[in-house]
């Protein structure tokens, strides 16, 4: 059931769901499948990273961009309406060492916000987007103890000016580990910097999904060991595993 809805900025939305099992067992980097309430109009459920989790209220929330018909439908969900969601799915991030760097590009913030909230050790989040209006984190979510947040926009309309990768240049090497999620080009640039600086890194990646549980082999990504399933071995992969041949 949808318990809360936050229309954040045009084209972005946050939905909270009552989901005791998911809220109770999920760890950062895992995702859920949201089933569309539309008959055959959308045969496939849509995957979304868990953005926040509240064990007491047995709730999880998702932060999403309206991309096509499915997310449009979700953005028009009413509080109290019943939506089927299944999860938690996939393999999340490994444990976060003190001093880690988290790098989020745009809507890629979702899994990293959950990761950031999972410990209280000092850690830094670089949160980048093209322009200020795409930095859409709802107020309060990133007000976490010992978390330093550095905002960066390509056009300089908020925070530093430049890309997340530009910023990283000045911060690497150093941090014991890096965790990132965002658009492909950003992750490719981050990967190059991490390999150069010898920083261990993990990325949350996306691929089209059908079953979400590892059965259909639909969500394959190429890794050095052959195809891996984003929904089962992933969505979190080490930097070495992904973005090798393109």
């Amino acid at each position: 059931m949808v318990t809360e809805k936050q229309a954040i900025a045009p084209g972005y939305c946050r939905l909270s769901f009552k989901a005791p099992h998911i809220a109770g067992t999920a760890y950062p980097g895992q995702f859920v499948m949201v089933y569309m309430n539309s008959g055959y109009r959308h045969l496939l459920p849509r995957p979304f990273s868990i953005f926040t989790r509240n064990r007491d209220k047995e709730e999880v929330s998702l932060l999403f961009a309206v991309k096509g018909q499915g997310t449009e439908l979700m953005a028009s969900a009413e509080v109290g309406s019943l939506w089927k969601i299944s999860g938690p799915l996939g393999s999340g991030f490994p444990a976060l060492p003190e001093g880690s760097l988290l790098v989020a590009g745009g809507i890629g913030l979702a899994p990293l916000a959950f990761l950031a909230a999972s410990i209280e050790k000092p850690r830094t989040l670089i949160y980048g987007a093209r322009t200020a209006s795409q930095l859409i984190c709802p107020p309060g979510v990133l007000d976490l103890p010992n978390l330093e947040v550095i905002e960066v926009t390509e056009d300089g309309t908020r925070g530093e000016r430049g890309t997340a990768a530009d910023l990283l240049l000045g911060l690497l090497p150093g941090p014991p580990a890096l965790f990132a999620c965002g658009p492909g080009p950003m992750l490719r640039a981050v990967k190059t910097l991490c390999l150069h600086s010898g920083t261990p890194a993990w990325f949350s990646v996306e691929e089209k999904m059908a079953c979400g549980i590892g059965a259909c082999l639909g969500c394959a990504v190429q890794t050095p060991k052959g195809y891996s399933r984003v929904c089962r071995e992933g969505p979190v992969f080490s930097a070495e595993e992904v973005f090798n041949n393109d």
Binding site: R41, K208, I213, L217, Q222
Partner: protein
């Protein structure tokens, strides 16, 4: 408890329920078996197995279409040895009957896989997927040519005494010719349909959406096509049919039974609704009760026999 009126014999395989998991979407079974109530499932047809591992197609492998799904997995599979050692032990413990879908690049590979699976504990039947491209015959699918169909099915038949289903491709001018060739070569039953060949294009990148360019269309969109081919095959052969293509409801399943199928399989339906099998089973039971029909088998081919049958008979 499954209504005993739902049990059927599919070419020698005794099924407590006429509802099977189609090959592919259900993988090697354990992912779904762990998560959903599978008590209504009569059998599982696992994803196609080849002799050596096959890597599969480059991503993206999936695209949603109007009431359909386009996939180009490329028959990725871990190969016979891995299946027998790693997957089979997990599956053999499961309640539903187990049917193994087999694939090959040439007739020898099909035969070798069939031989390797024969006599193993826990396997109740084989399903030969003849939609694979025949590499020795210029890449045209075995299942689009009656002579090639006859050869590959015959080669598998000689390797095994297991009940043998042959999975037909719908991408043919006349399904009855292929159906008869498979029957003549010794098939105990036919499965149909496999996916319809299709594609989509991304108008922003101006490239095909799937990594493999072409893919297979499944889901409710193809149901009328599948149903017609089951009807035609039922007129052409005597062996029982396993109908599939777009089933998500009991009404869908009943249409296939009434067209002439003995049992039905669900593939894409699992993505749409993981509990699809329990729902369809319940719907079938309700239909039998409402119309006072003792056994589903009474409805097999009912629509080809002139419509309403007397429930009591």
């Amino acid at each position: 408890m499954i209504n005993p009126g739902l049990s059927v014999n599919l070419g020698g395989i005794e099924l407590a329920s006429p509802l099977l998991a189609a090959s592919g979407p259900f993988g090697y079974g354990h992912e779904y078996l762990e998560r959903i109530d599978c008590s209504a499932l009569g059998g599982i047809i696992v994803k196609g197995i080849s002799l050596k591992p096959w890597p599969g197609n480059p991503p993206p492998r999936l695209a949603e279409t109007a009431s359909g799904l386009l996939n180009a997995i490329g028959l990725q599979n871990p190969g016979l040895d891995h299946f027998v050692k790693e997957d089979l032990p997990l599956l053999a413990r499961a309640e539903p009957r187990l049917i193994v879908n087999i694939v090959g690049c040439d007739i020898d590979e099909y035969a070798a896989v069939a031989a390797g699976l024969s006599g193993l504990e826990g396997i109740d039947g084989l399903e030969v997927n003849i939609s694979c491209p025949n590499l020795k015959a210029g890449g045209i699918a075995f299942g689009t040519d009656p002579a090639e169909t006859y050869k590959v099915v015959g080669a598998v038949r000689r390797q095994t005494n297991l009940p043998l289903l042959v999975k037909l491709s719908p991408n043919v001018t006349d399904i009855t010719i292929i159906a008869r060739a498979a029957e003549a070569a010794g098939a105990d039953g036919l499965s149909l349909i496999n996916t319809l060949s299709g594609m989509l294009i991304d108008i922003e990148t101006r490239k095909p959406l799937l990594g493999n360019i072409f893919g297979g269309l499944s889901g409710p969109a193809v149901l009328p096509v599948a149903l017609k081919m089951v009807w035609q095959a039922a007129e052409a052969v005597k062996i029982p049919l396993l109908g599939m293509g777009g089933i998500t409801t009991a009404e869908d399943a009943l249409q296939f039974i009434m067209a002439g199928a003995r049992a039905v399989a669900v593939g894409t339906g699992f993505f749409y609704e993981p509990e699809v099998i329990s729902q369809v089973k319940e719907g079938l039971e309700n239909y039998l009760v409402k119309h006072e029909i003792k056994a589903l088998g009474k409805l097999e081919g009912a629509a080809r026999k002139g419509g309403i049958i007397n429930g009591a008979c």
